[in-house]
Amino acid sequence: MKKYTYTDKKDTRSGFGDGLLEAGKRNPEVVALCADLVGSLKMADFIKAFPERFFQTGIAEANMIGMAAGLTIGGKIPFTGTFANFSTGRVYDQIRQSVAYSDKNVKICASHAGLTLGEDGATHQILEDIGLMKMLPGMTVINPCDYNQTKAATIAIAEHHGPVYLRFGRPVVPIFTDADQKFEIGKAWMVNEGADVSIFATGHLVWEAIQAGEKLAEEGIDAEIINIHTIKPLDAEAVLKSVAKTGCVVTAEEHNRLGGLGDSIAQLLAVNNPTPQEYVAVNDSFGESGTPAQLMTKYGLDAEHIIAAAKKVIARKKQNS
């Protein structure tokens, strides 16, 4: 097992804030909108650097998405910022008609995704956003794993033409990817090569997968771990290549098991190479209040659950053979 360490921890939303500032410096067409959550989205530095390129929309997310679509007419590259729930479910039709169907170059940037905003509870958590966004034709869906990757992804999507959903969060998580990485949209990142099971993880579950991989290695299980930061378009080649080697799959995501990364992988495999698969995801329920760590444990999203899923799927593979 390749060794991963970290010296610092940060929230991925700060990676977005710092990436947005950098994207703004690189391209004068980059503009930003926020629906009364500037602090939560870490947009203050961008606003300070480019006050005329920032639009405070008030608590009016539908109008924000429509205005972002309009800003592209005239060549702007708008980044919208609010919580994931208000970035997707609340404005689904606005995104569908004015952004996706209209082929607008809007970057929908969503913080506080999943359960781990914690104490605010299920009204502010969302576990359906990946599904909602990946179903839209032409939408790119990205869920980076740490601060550095979120920053790199934010810079990369400014250079990519087309609508993007960028998902990140509030909890402070280890920084274990390179600070100067080049983010390639749609290109899975090999975290650890292995032979016994493929663990496809997204978001901060990648770190949990690494923790799981180390413990599995101690027990003689050689896990391949792949960071699927881009859920759509899915890196089918990387997934199929890995599965051809390992013959069984665990998917790990902070999302409902319906409609998330796991489903994307299951669909790919069902058609190309039917393979035993276990989901580490929320089992079709809403979240609740609690600390992020408590919620990760209660809803089965930590390293322990990845380990259990890996052992279970390996046993299924052996049964089949």
Partner: protein, 282 residues
């Protein structure tokens, strides 16, 4: 080339013929609102706006128009064709398989002249505001126009946008409400009253113009000129344009019944007999 009032009337007559023929040909679509807004759209594209039919999506230095009530696509398509955005023969493909002229306007098929999809109501004002913000950033002082149905104002997003524009002093934005008092389920006053629209927009910080004769070409041009003269003075402008649904075809007028119904062969003949063919049918 800027048309005078007589020429605009001639164009409007042909556009009305196109509308009923298009809706008849596919036996679907929305003739009522299209006929009611014909004079407005003809005035806008052939007299008021500074626009280039060679069509560039970003339209820097050009005036822009956004149709928010996308169901009146027949009038929009006919006006765009006559303005030179695409060949008018293509009007015959309206709502048919593999057409660029979808039931509701879209950019998705690459039809020149369309800059946003519309149909799901209430979104166009926000899009227009975004385009106006882009123009401001680009140092482009041209004007952004929109058209909305009055029933569409029941959508909450309209009022989010209505609050944003005055707060941000978007004063090169001219919204028009097709104030025909009708919607699918009946008169707007019965379905969900709009109340005092003038007072509502004024309370939100808009400059409000009322035009009771939205099917009189000279009046339509005059109110649009008046609106233009009010741009650059710190407030967005809204025109409450009283129109008659189905205007120009006697049996379609004054009722919501022709909101989304196509005429049969006999009705088509009756309608065409009332509308002079001025520029040649497509």
């Amino acid at each position: 080339m800027k048309q005078d009032i007589e020429q605009l009337k001639q164009t409007a007559s042909q556009v009305r013929r196109d509308i009923v023929r298009m809706v008849h040909a596919c036996q679907s679509g929305h003739p009522g609102g299209s006929l009611g807004c014909t004079d407005f759209l003809v005035a806008l594209y052939f007299n008021i706006m500074k626009n280039d039919p060679s069509f560039n999506m970003d339209a820097k230095g050009e005036d822009l128009f956004f149709l928010s009530n996308g169901h009146i696509s027949p009038v929009f398509y006919s006006v765009l064709a006559h303005a030179g955005y695409f060949d008018k023969a293509e009007l015959g493909t309206f709502r048919k398989l593999n057409s660029r002229l979808q039931g509701h306007p879209t950019t998705h098929e690459g039809l020149p002249g369309v800059r946003i999809a519309s149909g799901s109501l209430g979104q166009g004002l926000s899009v227009a505001i975004g385009a106006a913000l882009a123009k401001r950033l680009n140092g482009d002082d041209s004007i952004v126009y929109t058209l909305h149905g009055d029933g569409e104002l029941q959508e909450g997003q309209i009022w989010e946008a209505a609050m944003f524009a005055p707060h941000n002093k978007l004063d090169r934005l001219i919204a028009t409400v097709d104030y025909n008092g009708q919607q699918i389920d009946g008169p707007t006053e019965m379905v969900l009253s709009l109340g005092n629209l003038k007072a509502k927009f004024e309370a939100f910080g808009w400059e409000v113009l009322e035009e009771p004769h939205g099917n009189d070409m000279a009046s339509v041009v005059a109110v649009l000129e008046k609106a233009k003269s009010l741009t650059g003075k710190g407030k967005p402008i809204v025109i409450l344009l009283k129109t008659g649904m189905g205007y120009g075809v006697d049996f379609m007028m004054g009722s919501h019944k022709w909101h989304g119904v196509a005429p049969n062969d006999e009705q088509l003949a009756t309608a065409l007999a009332q509308l002079e063919e001025t520029l040649g049918d497509y």
